[in-house]
């Protein structure tokens, strides 16, 4: 399973994607579409998006991530974004970009405790 070139892992009833490269336009579109299609197919209870590999998240990428979470939620899948780095968090709040409504956790383990087990 993959969202574009990004592999999707299954962890119990949840899905895990690790974003490491820049999500620019075309890549972001495919990422979102594939991810949602996979959610639809598997009926996953939860989704973890691991961004610990990103040292820069601009407003575009932030929007893609937040939107993806909101779309997944509409389909009944809880989303948690994990691993936002200190410098990324600082930059986002300084820009005034709000990721309100998006659940977050320190890492994958923490994120899993916030998702339904089944």
């Amino acid at each position: 399973m993959a969202a574009g070139s990004i592999p999707i892992l299954r962890v119990g009833a949840n899905l895990l994607v690790t974003v490491q490269t820049d999500l620019h336009d075309a890549v972001a579109e495919v990422f979102q579409q594939d991810l949602l299609a996979t959610i639809e197919k598997t009926g996953a209870a939860g989704l973890l998006i691991d961004v610990s590999g990103l040292d820069v998240v601009d407003s575009y990428v932030a929007r893609v991530l937040a939107d993806t979470g909101r779309m997944a939620k509409l389909m009944g899948t809880e989303t948690v974004i994990v691993g936002i780095r200190p410098e990324v968090a600082a930059t986002l709040v300084r820009m005034g970009y709000s990721m309100a409504g998006v659940r977050t956790a320190l890492n994958v383990d923490e994120g899993l405790t916030m998702l339904p087990r089944k």
């Binding site: 820069v56 998240v57 407003s59 200190p86 410098e87 600082a90 930059t91 820009m95 005034g96």
Partner: protein, 138 residues
């Protein structure tokens, strides 16, 4: 603010990949100039926002990336120029924008808060030049 230019590079902004190129170049130079992780993230994100703005609103433009120094410290100066439609109401755009140029406004006002110096020159029908400076923390 007379600053000495230590290096200068001009990068074209025509495709999405160019935004990534600009980001990489800025990130590398920020590291070299000794900016810490927070300052590096700030200037690289600002560069990404501004390069994206050029692409979205003017379709093409140029980024000039300079390493600068004054008596006391070193830093980066970035210039984003395009010959796009220009911004009619700068004040409104910088304050967070009206809905039609909302993304542009957000990119500008957001970037402004991430850098030490921010200057914008925009003339409708002619083009826009945005100049930003980020210094290494002394």
């Amino acid at each position: 603010m007379a600053a000495q230019v230590l290096s200068r590079a001009e990068l074209a902004i025509v495709t999405e990949d160019d935004v990534v190129t600009v980001r990489r170049r800025v990130r590398d130079l920020a590291h070299q100039r000794g900016l810490d992780s927070f300052a590096t993230a700030a200037i690289t994100t600002a560069a990404s926002e501004l390069a994206r703005n050029v692409l979205m609103h003017a379709r093409r433009g140029t980024a000039v990336v300079e390493e600068i120094a004054n008596d006391q410290r070193k830093g980066l100066r970035l210039e984003f120029r395009d010959q796009g439609p220009g911004i009619a109401n700068l004040e409104r755009a910088l304050a967070g924008g009206n809905s039609t140029v909302r993304s542009l406004g957000l990119g500008l006002s957001g970037s402004k808060r991430l850098v030490d110096d921010f200057h914008i020159d925009s003339t409708p029908g002619v083009g826009t030049v945005v100049t930003v400076v980020k210094w290494a923390r002394f």
